[in-house]
Structures are given as structure tokens and as C-alpha cells.
Subunit: 320 residues, 4 copies
């Protein structure tokens, strides 16, 4: 099971990355709505994001079959190539409960066209998962995987499992482990990891949300993978660019708008995200059951909370 | 998708039920070791348990492919039939993240020979899973499933999701929801549910461990589904029978031994269980990676903790 | 600071113990309402409880000054003596954040008339409190205290700190550590501790609620310390006595009623308890601010949930 | 109980604030070591911090009697005045379980010389503490307090209680509620609060640690209250000043050193902090029992982790 480089390695760039939503037909079977998805990927790429993350938490990956997963990866690659984004990487989420399944998925995802894996640690037997076992999982996977691995630190869906900065730094030197997405939202830990691994081309720190994007950049992260970009990609990208250009005042102003809007998402989980999509961009639909549609109260609150941010997005996109 | 009775309904009996371990070959691929598994099922049935629960947490179900799951169900049925246990039910664990996958698995498991489903609620999007959504999941599944559903209440692997007694009682009247396994270990809740649904033939309360078996029987549970029975099934069954026979003193004595031994399991998760199996019954092996083998320290502690209980098991089985 | 036996040791008896509520005047200052309290203690003693626990969680001890604490202890002793309950012990809750304060309070409480201390471990610096530190706290306190110590295992108010059964058994041999109140509600742990320390006159296991009273007795506990007894002491006592008399059917029936009623308490914390008191026994008042009064919705739900249990209490007390 | 302005209001300045340690004599009684404390306050003021926070979590306030608390406040004021820091505010931590005690302490602390209160919400009855109850606590306290209130958001010691950004903004308009210390470490929430309350002279956002100081400044916080400053105040202050001066590269470099050092503190709680103090500044002692002294292993690890940061501190202070 030695790694075979099936894909050239597309560069993981600094900036805003989007874990795209998955869309479902409004039938009892809730099959994936491929045309809506393709359109969404095109919209994202055009807005200036640096990669498409498929099969993430935001993409309801845990509800998808292996066939559906492979299809989403290959469709994403095809759409990007078709609009001239041949260099934009596709990052595939990997949430498994065994090394065996992780390795098999790594091969399948690479074959389907993924450039990177964003891998959660197995956590069902959290009580047995020592730090050594978690680190061993990542290095075993990275040894075997034909494409590079990004650590996905998300204790909220991993029964609390989380590698400390010292553990992350220890495995960050593996040539096939290339970064971390911190949905632990621990900016101090980002500072430690960035300080201890200062070359982002060999190991990059990405925040797991945009509500603290500017803060994470200030301590050494290179950007974020943020569900918010599904709704307001341009404002997220502009915040990043303002920071890069040294316009700290504008960066902070946009950060305030984004953080306030993103709270609407965080507070009500995925149903809130899809409610916001339906309201502001005209597509989104509902989640696969049993995740419920947002209640009328939640929808109203979400829309009110998002309004200032979306007004900014409209202003940017109209001016463009 | 109306339910079709593919199987006759084998009765869910009062007593001790065993969520059987799965065993793996000691190769890199870690395929299932079917001969060891078949032998284990035979040993369990002979020891007096009332059902075989496959694909449970103890069975490492989350590491198994759908094909492996179906195989374990059909092998179990075949082994039981082959040794004259045609009436013993096979209960299949069901851990999915969507109603869609749950329904598909229900059909597949029923076809493979399962008599009951022991179903966890989807919990990845725990923040979105209202009580109504959880109840809706169970009634939708029960409406569609060809075989009855048992609620699996295990907040420890469900991001804390748990139905309260009032919620459980509300859906307990569904004709195809037939019981609950409480790995919430909440004996007061067992008392409430048993009091509110006093006919176990329509809805049964089962504890999720044997360390409080006698206590749960005293408040109205009909028994337990306990990983401990993999190691010391006879003592577990004897404790139950002592209680049924009115020998409360003996029941309490055995309860003390079981609780002390089970602590060895609970404290060190599945690696501790398999360490105990290797030591005391001569098979068990290791878990699928990345769940690690127990350390030497844990093994030594586990074995010492288990010794009094296993001495009792030996005494019972030698006398038999 | 060597211990001085200031009080004779009143026996800790098997049965139902009540952590009494504290009552406050309905003024802005919310001073303790002593006459209502005295009446409540008399009602409790007459109903058949085995001790009065003052300064517990149910008694809002954390809102009381040291002077108020001493007053409640001495008033309780005086009331009990005045109605012929000279042998009934007074158990004083002890919730401190240092060994120093714990020792000083132990002396003060003993001087005021307490017979036992029910001591929580310091938990503000939970991250620093190793098992050894917790055990050291209890043995240091027990070495110094003029009255015996009961371990109070209540992870819900101790930042999750909890001694395992093996740790409890290790310190249970101290001659001045005499029992444990398990508001961890872990009946399997009760079984282990009772099995490992079988003489309740040297170390007794008490449940921290009555919703699983019969279950805990079945595994070796000697009774419970239950807030429920503030409202329906007679039914709690009758459940215990039915069990003792071998009438398991009646014990289980009463357990069902109690568990269903107690759920009303557990679900809505102390405001629910006081709402039930106001409705069913005509006194109770409200908690010290900022703990709010129960909402109208919660009150209505609580009262409906409690009705069957209180009907039973009325039946018992009318027949008496 | 209408508020009386007993003290002139010293300005809460942007920058680094230090929650000072409390030091104890190495006797059995563990009385406060006032001379060491006075020296420490002098060292802190000289290093450039903007206020002294007494009675915080780092100051072991929960182990102190009311008399000790008042003494520490007045000693701090006296020391500051004696060295020409008449304008530096003293902020007093307030951790109580009732509005009644909070108000009484507010009066006492103001009389003793405190300029601000840093108030935790009562949390023992966390299940009863609705958002409305928490907000009511703060506004009741602020109505009555003679000195301004700073919200202390620290779910780790408050049974998880935490006001969301929208709740904080709602009460931030109270003229006597003047800021928040976010030991929730939620930088996105800081961004939302700073955006919604942009005038720090009426409501200021302060981080609860320095490991993400630069990140929090980037999103609108005015500084931090950080235990780290007890050990390396100059480096913390220099990081802040580099940021203010627009030297983002130096700010980020110092942030990396601080975050790496602070991890040594966070990982091992207060015993680790005092171990670092003993090693690097020659005083510190141990915590009040039962909080244990750091083990030899923890001490060695802590010192190794702190070494690069302390080397920087030495470089700054030697050059000075």
C-alpha cells in the first residue's frame, strides 16, 4: 500500500477556502442535486476562494455514500477545469472510524481527483484514543496516502479528542502532512503551531471559521476554511485582502460584519446555514433527514442577523 | 416503503443479552476472523444468554463495511440455527448519520437475518437535533423498517444527545418500537420508563451494562445488554436468575463481583475488554486500528481487577 | 489542630435522609425565615426521615454566610431535641475551596451542633486536582475534624471531579470517614463500593436521589439523601420500608411514582423544587437571587408531573 | 442600596493587565505573605502593566476570607500610591453565589480601595440560570455597586455558563457595566462585541490570556488580563506596544514566544504557574492546599517550555 502520486500536487494557497454545501433534491429520496451543486462551485470559484473543500462537515459528508463522495469530488474537478481553474485544488474531507477505511478512502478520493485529504481522527472509542494513537493514525494514513493529509482538529464532532500544539508540531514534520484546519477555534494554539512550523509551504495553519479570520492571520495562520464563504464569499475574500494590503482598519470593519453574521450560522447549526442560503442567494434547500429544517423563529432571527453582512456582500458584488 | 415482515418476530426475552465482540485476523488488513467469531457465538448461546447483539459498540461496528455487517448477521443466524437455538433472536446495531442510510440498512439487515434493530440517533449535527428531530427519526425508521426497533440511548457516543423519559414514553407506543437499551446508565430514568410502559412485551427496558443489573431489575428493567457477558456470561446469567428466584443475597453478592470486574472494562474502553478476553478465555486479539492495544500496565491492572470475577466464573462452569 | 470529640456520635441510620430546603423572607434582603424553617424540620422528623442534612445543595448553602450556617445547624439541633428526636443526627454540608477553610468550618459546625460533615472537594482549580490531591483533602480533613466526614460525590457542581470506586475504597478505611453520598447517581459504582466496604457502620453508601432508591438498595446502599423528601417524605420512607419488609412489588410501584415525580425536580433545578413546595405543601417561597423563580410554564408542568406522587403522599398521610 | 461614588473612577486603559498571584507563608496555616506580595505588585507596576487585578482566579481568591480580600485590595492601593502610580486602577475579582453577597462585597471592596469589580456570575445552580437570570444578576449588581462592573466570562469555572455576544451587548449599555474579560477565549465573540460596542471608554473588550493577544487586538479588543504577566510582564507589554506601533512582524514574533510559554501555564493550572515563578523569578511558593505542588515531571517540562520566553524577558530587561 505504498503511496502513488496519482495527482500532481496543486498548491495550497493562503486565503479563504470554502467547505461547500451539498444540495439535495426535494424528494423523499433526497438524492444529490448535481446541477445546483455545479452552479455553486462555479459561483465559489468566481468569487475568489483558493480551494473547494468537498465532503466537509458543512457538506453533510457523514450522510453520503462512498459513491456519492467520489461523484462529488470528480464533479468538482470537472467544473473547475471547465471554467479555467485547473490550478485550484480540491480538498476532500475524510471522516472514518478505522485506519483501514481511511486508507481505502484516501485511494478512492485521490483516484476521483482530490488533491488533499482533510482528515478527522477516529473518535468513537474516544476513551481508548491516546495521543499516541491519534498521532499514529495520522502518520499511518500519511505514509499510505497518495495525496497529502491536512489534520482536521474539530473536538466538537470528535468526542472532545484534540491534539495539543506540541503533538501537532511533532507530526507536522511528516512530508505528507501539510497543514491543520483548526475548528477548535483556539487562536493561541494557532500562534504556537505557526511559531513552531513557520514555513506554510510545508505545514500551514488554517482557521476553521472566518469570525476570527483577521485575528488568526495576525498570529500566523495563512487563512481559513469557512462555511460562511458559501453565503458571502466576496466579503470574506475582501477581509483577507484588506489585511494583506495593510489596510487594518478596513480588515477590522469587515471582520466585525463577518463575525456578527457567522454567529447566525454557529448558533443554529446547518439548518441556519441553509436558511440563510435560501433567503439570500436563492438556493440551499434543506438538510438530509433527520436534521430538521430551521423553525420559522430561527429563520427570522438568522435573516435579521445576516442582513448587515449580506448588504455588504451586495455592495461589493454590485460594484464589481 | 411500507414495512414487509421478512422475518418472523422472535421474542425479546428477559435476562442477559450479549453484544458480541468482533475478532480480527492478526494481519495488516485485519479482516474479520470468522471461525473465532462463530466459536464465540456458540460459547455465548451455550452460556445462557437470551440474544446475540451484533454490530454494537462492543462489536466495533463503526469500523465494519456494509458487506461485513451483513455477513456477521447471517453467520450469527446460521450458527445459532446450527446448534438448536432457532428461537434466539439476533439484534443488529444500527449507527448511521441519516434517515436515508438507516432505512437502507434496516432492509439489508433484515434480509441478512436480523430480528431487531438497536438504533443510535444521528448525532453529528447535534446542535440541530431537537427532541422532535430525534423522535421523528425513530418513528420514521420504525414506520419503514421490516423489523422492530430498539432505541439505543448512549449519549457518550452521540455528542450527548439523549431522549428524556417523557420523550421515550411518547414514542414507546409505536407498534414497531419495542424497547430501549440504556447505556445512559440512568437507573432513575429506567424506573420512570418502566413505570410508564409496564408491559415489556410491547416495550422493554434493558440496562446497558451489568454493573447495576440487580438495581435495574429492582426498578422494572427486564435485563441488560452487557459487554461483560463476552467474558463471564455464566456469572451474569446466574446473577439474573438468583434475582428471579428471590435469592436477593446471592444476587447482591454476584452483583458486587460483576460491578468490580466491569469497572476494569469501563475504565479502559475496548482495549481493556480484549486484554481481559486474551487473558481469561484465550482469544480476543486486538481492535481494528487506530484503537491501540492495551499497555502492559493496563493489562496487568485489568487482569488483577477481573480475577475475583473470573474465579467465580470458573467455579460456576466447573460445577456445571 | 488535633480532633476533639465535641459531640457524641449519633448513629447514621439506614433509610431516607433529607437535605432540607432553606426558606427566605420575601423582602429585598431575603433573610432566612427561621419560623418556616423550624416548622419544616419538625414536619420532616415526624415523617420518618433518619437525619436532617443542613447546608446541602438543596439548602442553598453556597448563598449563606458562616453566621447563617451556624445558626441553621443550632436551630436544627434545638428543634429536634425539642420534639424528642435527641438521637437524630444533624449532617452539615461543607463546600469550600481550601483545606484551611474546610478545617475551620468543621470546627465551627461541630461547635454549633453538627454530627457529620458532608464534604465536597475543592474544585475551582479542577485541572490541578489529581486523584491524590482529592484523597489528600479528605484524609487531611478527617484527621483534623472533630466529627466524622461523609464524602460528597457530586461531579455536576465540582467541575466534573469525582473519585472512582477504587479511590473511595482506599480512603474509606479512615476511621473518621464514614460514608459517601453519591450524587454521581452511578449505581454500578455504589455496587462496587458496597461490595468492597461491606460494613455500613464503618462506611455507608447513600444514593444522592430517590429516583433509583430501590435499585441502590438492591446493590448494597443503605438509603439515600434525597431532596424529594422535602415534599413527599412519607412516600419515600414507605418505599424504603416496603423494600426492607420484602414487599418488592409495592417497593417497585412506589419507586415508579417517586422517579416520575423526582424528574420534575431534576429537570428544572431548585426553582422547580420550590414551585412544587408552594403548590403542594403551602410554603417554600423563592430562591435567593439571582436564581430565578420558575416560569409559569415550568410551574404548570412541574405540578402536573408531581400530581400522581403527591396523591400517593396524601393517601398515606390521611390514612395515618 | 443606591450607589455612592466612594472612589474617583480611574481610567481602564488599553494594554496589558495583570491578575496578580497571591503568596502564602510556608507554614501549616498558609497565611498570606504580605511582604512578598507587596514586592510583586511593585515589580508589576514597574514593568508597564495598566492595572493590578486582585482576587482573580490566578490570585486564588476562592481560598481567601473576606478580611484577607479587603486587606489585599488596600495593600495594593497603598503600594501603588507609594511608588507614584496613583492613577493605576485596582480591579477586584468578585466570585459569589448570590446577588446579596455580591452587593455586600461590592461595597466592601470599594471601601477598601477597589476601582472596578471583575464579576463572575453565580453558577452553582447552573441548571436554573437562564440567560435572563445572568443578565439580571449583572444589571442588579451594577445598579447597586459604587464602582463599575466588568463581566467575567469564564465558563471553565462557571459550570459552562456563558453569555453570548448578543446578551453581552444588551447589558453593555448599562452605564456601570464597563467591559468584559473573555476567559472564554472566543476571538470571534470578541470581534462581535467590539463591533457592536465600538467605544472602549464605555465598554471595553479584554482577552483572558495573552496567548492570542495580537489576534484579539486585530479584531478590536483593547488588551488582555493575563496571568502570564506575573512571570514575563515586559515581553507581554512589548508585544502590545509593537502592535500599537505598527510593527506587526515583531508583534507576531513575540506572540509566538508568549503563546508557547503560556501553554506551559495552561496545561498544568496554577501549580505550573507557581513552579515557573519559583524557577525564573525566585519567588512564588505553593498554592493553598489542597491544590498540590507541581510534580517534578511537570516542573521540568514547564521550565523547558518557558525557557525561550524567559530568555526574551531577560534580554528585554537587561537592555532596559
Amino acid at each position: 500500500m505504498s503511496p502513488v502520486a496519482v495527482n500532481k500536487t496543486r498548491t495550497l494557497k493562503a486565503g479563504v477556502h470554502v467547505p461547500v454545501l451539498t444540495f439535495f433534491e426535494s424528494t423523499a429520496a433526497q438524492d444529490i442535486d448535481i446541477p445546483v451543486y455545479e452552479n455553486h462551485v462555479r459561483r465559489m470559484a468566481a468569487a475568489g476562494v483558493e480551494s473547494i473543500v468537498v465532503l466537509g462537515s458543512t457538506g453533510e459528508a457523514v450522510t453520503l455514500s462512498l459513491e456519492e463522495k467520489k461523484q462529488l469530488i470528480s464533479v468538482t474537478r470537472k467544473v473547475l477545469d471547465g471554467i479555467g481553474f485547473e490550478e485550484m485544488p480540491v480538498i476532500a474531507g475524510l471522516a472514518t472510524q478505522s485506519t483501514r477505511e481511511a486508507m481505502a478512502s484516501a485511494d478512492a478520493f485521490a483516484q476521483a481527483g482530490a488533491d488533499y485529504l482533510l482528515a478527522l481522527p477516529p473518535s468513537y472509542y474516544a476513551g481508548a484514543m491516546t495521543k499516541a494513537a491519534i498521532k499514529g493514525f495520522y502518520t499511518d494514513l500519511a505514509d499510505a496516502s497518495p495525496i497529502p493529509v491536512i489534520i482536521y482538529s474539530y473536538p466538537g464532532v470528535s468526542s472532545g479528542l484534540e491534539l495539543d500544539s506540541e503533538d501537532v508540531l511533532e507530526i507536522s514534520t511528516h512530508r505528507n502532512i501539510r497543514g491543520i484546519k483548526q475548528t477548535d477555534h483556539n487562536v493561541g494554539k494557532m500562534a504556537r503551531i505557526a511559531a513552531g512550523s513557520p514555513d506554510p509551504s510545508s505545514f500551514a495553519v488554517l482557521g476553521g471559521a472566518s469570525e476570527y479570520l483577521i485575528g488568526s492571520l495576525a498570529v500566523g495562520a495563512i487563512g481559513c476554511i469557512t462555511g460562511m464563504a458559501n453565503l458571502t464569499p466576496v466579503t470574506c475574500v475582501r477581509a483577507y485582502k484588506a489585511w494583506q494590503a495593510g489596510d487594518y482598519k478596513e480588515a477590522q470593519r469587515l471582520q466585525g460584519l463577518i463575525a456578527t453574521g457567522e454567529w447566525a450560522f454557529g448558533k443554529n447549526s446547518l439548518p441556519g446555514v441553509k436558511a440563510g442560503m435560501n433567503q439570500y442567494v436563492g438556493y440551499g434547500g434543506v438538510c438530509r433527514k433527520p436534521v430538521p429544517e430551521a423553525s420559522a423563529d430561527i429563520k427570522a432571527w438568522t435573516n435579521k442577523q445576516l442582513e448587515p453582512l449580506f448588504a455588504q456582500e451586495r455592495a461589493f458584488t454590485t460594484k464589481n
